[in-house]
């Protein structure tokens, strides 16, 4: 008997979502197979890799990262330009940490004005991430959506508590895309998509943030949730799970012990920045192998490695 390639055809496919504007827009998704299963069918667009910047100086980031950005990190607009020119990411994720009520508590107006300046300063599409405080994010995203009208950004993220206002302002009124965030559970992911849908948000305007964890920290739930979501979307043609997935990897990996412990805290572990990059790279490689269409990373070195990995999985 001779070997015969095993081919699996699915009835469903992942929606294609475009964000950004004009010729610089980028597309997520479009595949009708599992990640990089080139022999089964169309693998869709390349996974997109975005770099994270903040609206405030990154006080808590590693010295090595602060050195990479130098003075540029004092101002989000310069920072964004610097990142775009030097590292050419597929998109930039501006995280509005300064608006956090437990921090500087900047007003939505102030944060949104800065987001607008950033958007105007760069060509690549923008993802705007909030504070993870649900009340504040509601007000924040309403304002951000308004001032960024026409930029077609991704608002990261709407959760069950605030999806109505963010969905209405962000997508219905000002034509952005919304990330629907759930916490590592296929049913919760599906439910939030349906709720947004009932609000009038089209499936094509939703990207899912199905939750993440650093490797070693319950990552099996992330991997299995993504497996199940993709198999339901493709195999059962479940329309309410056919959105592309975006995963803010850096939000988790840079706060676990492996990345946070200094060389003084854990001398045997060696270089802290190497550990940080390795944790970020491992988690990012794992989520794109499990089904994520976009990842947000912090270290430019991680982004370079993950880009090379994705290219190598697609082209010989």
């Amino acid at each position: 008997m001779a070997f015969k390639t095993s081919v699996q055809k699915y009835t469903g496919s992942i929606n294609k979502l475009e964000f950004g504007s004009g010729e610089n827009s980028k597309a997520l998704g479009g595949e009708n197979v599992l990640p990089f299963y080139t022999f089964d069918g169309n693998i869709g667009g390349k996974p997109l890799i975005g770099l994270e910047i903040l609206d405030v100086y990154p006080e808590k980031w590693l010295d090595e990262l602060q050195q990479i950005y130098g003075d540029a990190a004092n101002n989000a607009v310069q920072w964004a330009r610097f990142v775009e020119e030097k590292f050419s990411p597929d998109f930039i994720c501006l995280r509005l940490e300064g608006a956090d009520p437990n921090g500087l508590n900047k007003s939505p107006e102030e944060a949104a004005a800065l987001a607008k300046e950033v958007a105007q300063a760069i060509k690549v599409p923008l993802v705007v991430a909030g504070t993870q405080n649900h009340d504040k994010d509601t007000k924040l995203f309403e304002k951000v959506a308004e001032v960024l009208e026409g930029c077609n950004v991704i608002l990261l993220s709407a959760v069950e508590d605030n999806y109505k206002k963010i969905g209405a302002a962000g997508v219905l009124a000002y034509r952005h895309k919304v990330a629907a965030e759930s916490s590592v559970d296929i049913n919760l992911a599906k439910q939030l998509n349906i709720l947004l849908n009932q609000l009038g948000v089209k499936n094509e305007d939703i990207v899912m943030n199905v939750g993440c964890a650093a490797v070693g920290y319950g990552f099996e739930y992330v991997a299995s949730t993504m497996d199940r979501i993709r198999l339901a979307a493709l195999g059962q043609n479940d329309k309410s799970l056919q959105m592309p997935i975006i995963t803010p990897v850096s939000f988790d990996t840079w706060s676990v012990k492996e990345s946070v412990a200094s060389v003084e805290d854990a001398p045997e572990w060696g270089s802290q920045v190497e550990r940080g990059i390795a944790m970020e790279v491992s988690t990012a490689a794992s989520v794109i192998a499990a089904g994520a269409n976009a990842v947000i990373l912090r270290h430019p070195g991680s982004a370079e490695t993950v880009r090379k990995l994705a290219d190598a999985l697609i082209n010989n």
């Binding site: 070997f3 095993s6 490797v215 070693g216 099996e220 199940r228 045997e268 572990w269």
Partner: protein
């Protein structure tokens, strides 16, 4: 192809003699088909029927054993393509590559690195399990390398990578008792290779230029009735290695073709070509998707911490959540004035809570009773994290001798337990902590 219960029933004596422990031959057959009983339990089957059955009821993917004693490992034996369908069984193993071209200093450095990265995480020992020793032309150096690694004191299993049968013969004299993996059978040398390993039942790695040839080679080796095998999906390109690895596993488990029902060997070191982070990226991908032996160029903590953590996660049985040992944990050098926090023995809860306490830099005791391995709310709902469980553990664990502080902080989500615990623990003040672990540092600092 797999046989149905009815197919099997046709081969039974159909006498319903009940000797197998089942009421009818039909019931027995259904159970065998489902993998719940072994066909040998029926003593009335004809030889012919047994042979036919054991062939078709054998596992789709073979479990291959290598190493010896405390370094004996099993690979393969997987039954599903996705862990949520049941579970993955045998976790992948990491190897570090040595060659006869390396300088003694280089070899020493790698050995030292492997010795240094050895630690326990949630009850599991984390270390490189395999020394991969590659022949690249210098026989004497190769034999010296094997001796050196064997005598280095490393606790590892071995993999010899060599296509030259004569060299292998000599090399095996040095380590055959350790049951190494012998890698390097190809279409030209496979029959001699099988002769070489058959005696000791050493696992044999097969390699070919492409999947079609690998398939043909495996068929040929199986014809020699040798089935202790590993398959090498190749490493000429990353895409090819990934595609071949997926195809091999899917051919075995979905197409039910046992020709490809063997574990794999991935030379990530070659694919990454010296790029350490690329090794981490590729090893992660192959941990998630079907790598069995993953070969790295070296091991250090930057590689180990993510890769061993990921592997531990992916190979957790979804039906049995990861648990930590119920006991008292001292965090930030807790002392006799430190407060006491309590949470469940679900590993994730432990990690998140202990991590946040560490972040606060405030010395504290974390006590973990046996809560069935569930998350806080689930354990509470199941009655395994109740007021009486917590107060009993406080009394019996000896925490009262370790600290004079009588503040017990409970998770915000089980605030309702406060009264219960206070009633059965006179002298303790029960404080309701935050709902989410991320607020613990602020909470502890302000307490």
């Amino acid at each position: 192809m797999a046989m149905t219960g009815l197919d099997i029933y046709k081969l039974t004596p159909k006498t319903n003699c009940k000797e197998c422990g089942f009421p009818t031959c039909m019931a027995f057959s259904m159970k065998v088909a489902a993998g719940g009983a072994e066909i040998q339990k029926c003593s009335h089957m004809s030889e012919e029927a047994l042979a036919k059955l054991s062939e078709s009821t054998a596992p789709l993917m073979k479990t291959v054993v290598f190493g010896k004693g405390e370094t004996e490992y099993k690979l393969g034996g997987e039954t599903v393509l996705f862990r949520h369908e049941k579970t993955f069984v045998n976790k992948n193993r990491f190897a570090v590559l040595f060659t006869d071209k390396m300088s003694p200093e280089e070899v020493d450095a790698k050995i030292a690195g492997m010795k240094e990265v050895c630690y326990v995480r949630i009850g599991e020992e984390m270390k490189v399990e395999i020394a991969a020793l590659k022949y690249s032309g210098d026989k004497d150096a190769f034999l010296a390398l094997i001796k050196k690694v064997k005598e280095s004191g490393l606790k590892v299993a071995f993999m010899l990578i060599c296509e030259d049968v004569e060299v292998l013969k000599e090399a095996l004299e040095l380590v055959k008792e350790e049951v190494p993996i012998v890698h390097g059978a190809n279409k030209n040398n496979y029959s001699e290779m099988v002769q070489l390993v058959r005696d000791k039942k050493l696992p044999l790695g097969l390699r070919a230029d492409n999947l079609e040839e690998l398939y043909a080679l495996t068929e040929n080796v199986q014809k020699m009735d040798y089935k202790e095998l590993f398959l090498d999906p190749g490493c000429k390109s990353i895409k090819e290695a990934y595609v071949n690895t997926l195809q091999i596993r899917r051919t075995a488990l979905k197409e039910q073709d046992r020709t490809f029902g063997y574990p794999s060997i991935l030379f990530v070191n070659e694919m990454a070509n010296g790029d350490k982070y690329m090794e981490v990226a590729l090893s992660s991908v192959f941990t998630i998707k079907y790598g069995s032996v993953i070969v790295l160029s070296d091991m250090d903590y930057a590689r180990a911490l993510p890769l061993f953590g990921l592997r531990q996660n992916i190979f957790t049985d979804p039906q049995k959540p990861m648990r930590v040992e119920p006991k008292i944990y001292s965090i930030n050098n807790a002392n006799e004035n430190s407060p006491v926090l309590v949470t469940v023995d679900f590993a994730l809860s432990y990690f998140v809570v202990s991590g946040e306490i560490e972040r606060s830099k405030i010395p504290a005791w974390l006590v973990i009773p046996d809560a069935g391995g569930y998350s806080v709310l689930t354990a509470w709902a199941a009655g395994k994290f109740s007021g009486s469980v917590i107060s009993k553990f406080i009394k019996e664990s000896g925490i009262e001798n370790k600290t004079k502080c009588r503040k017990l902080i409970i998770p915000g989500k089980v605030a309702v337990l406060k009264g219960d615990i206070e009633d059965s623990l006179p002298g303790w003040e029960v404080v309701v902590g935050p709902d989410e672990a991320m607020h613990i540092p602020k909470f502890l600092r302000e307490m």
